[in-house]
């Protein structure tokens, strides 16, 4: 991902909470405010209650819809995302239908079947405009004694580590090193996606996920911190060497994962640890 794409992505992420999508529901029931006060002025308490309750329900639906849309965005962005725990958009559609049906029946005094048609139309409108919540989470099947949820949690943990590496990378002012780290993160993301698609590889990849990603995070964060304080050519070269090794190992491991070969990680991990110590990074 080049700098421009990264900038666009981060601007889009930052602005998403302020997206106008879903605001419509806050404005549509605005007529209920004067209706409530007029009923209050006339002393019709039942009408006050109906209009105020309808307005409150619409506000609840609008709030729920906005939360649902944000959760959906976050889920779509994450590579191993799980859908929001509560079906917020569906709840918003149901509450909108309820409020519309109630206002049509008790507020506008339509017959019950007509009010039900209003409710159905409101639900249909919500479905067409905003859709319902994402389908059941992408299933990860159990493998080698690990349940699907355990595998998902492990993958999500690894995904978080990759995001932390990317954040540390943003603090490093060296285009060449930035690109190397980005490539490593990309390969790591691909490995996670492959494991999610075929969890049989999870057992073999577990050590890789635990040890290598942690190692990359440590060295990247360490380098991001130290290179701002002192600019040492030797440290930079050492870091470059380590990234070289890591990149090669990541590529190899991905290839092996693909070929369903046995992970020879124990040896590789020792090699990496020794190198990190030799280079003075650990």
């Amino acid at each position: 991902m080049n700098q421009l794409e990264k900038l666009k992505q981060s601007v889009s992420d930052a602005l998403h909470p302020y997206s106008p999508r879903g605001l419509l529901l806050y404005f549509l029931p605005i007529a209920l405010i004067p209706a409530t006060f007029i009923a209050l002025g006339k002393g019709h308490m039942l009408d006050v209650l109906i209009n105020a309750a309808g307005f409150a329900l619409y506000m609840l639906a609008a709030w729920s819809l906005r939360r649902g849309l944000q959760a959906e965005y976050a889920c779509a962005k994450s590579r191993i995302g799980s859908p929001p725990p509560k079906p917020l958009k569906t709840i918003a559609a149901a509450v909108t239908a309820l409020a519309t049906g109630m206002i049509a029946w008790l507020g506008a005094e339509h017959a019950l079947p007509v009010a039900l048609m209003f409710a159905g139309a409101a639900f249909l409108g919500m479905y067409l405009r905003y859709g319902l919540d994402p389908e059941e989470r992408q299933k990860i099947s159990a493998a080698y004694g690990y349940s699907g949820d355990e595998i998902r949690k492990a993958l999500q943990g690894s995904s978080r580590i990759i995001r932390n590496i990317e954040q540390a990378n943003d603090r490093i002012r060296n285009t060449e090193l930035n690109k190397r780290i980005e490539r490593i993160c990309q390969v790591a993301d691909n490995i996670l996606a492959e494991i999610a698609a075929d969890p049989r590889d999870f057992r073999r990849a577990r050590k890789f996920l635990n040890v290598y990603l942690d190692g990359v995070l440590q060295v990247t964060q360490g380098y991001a911190k130290t290179h701002q304080q002192s600019h040492s050519g030797e440290l930079e070269q050492n870091f470059r060497n380590v990234l070289d090794t890591i990149e090669t190992v990541f590529q190899e491991q991905r290839q092996k994962l693909f070929e369903e070969d046995v992970f020879d990680l124990d040896v590789k991990i020792e090699v990496l640890n020794t190198q990190l110590k030799q280079e003075g990074i650990l």
Partner: protein
């Protein structure tokens, strides 16, 4: 159904149903509103009175 058409249809249905239900509730609370509207309409089209 293409996304844009679906969005547009959803928007129209939402505005129509919620707008109609809430405005009818307002008119029921203040029937004079509809009377004012009718008066304004007939004032702007005098021939409608005849």
């Amino acid at each position: 159904m293409p996304g844009l058409l679906r969005n547009l249809l959803g928007f129209i249905i939402l505005v129509a149903t919620i707008g109609l239900a809430t405005c009818q509730s307002l008119v029921k609370a203040e029937p004079a509103i509809s009377a004012y509207a009718a008066e304004a309409l007939s004032a702007s089209h005098p021939q409608a009175k005849q």
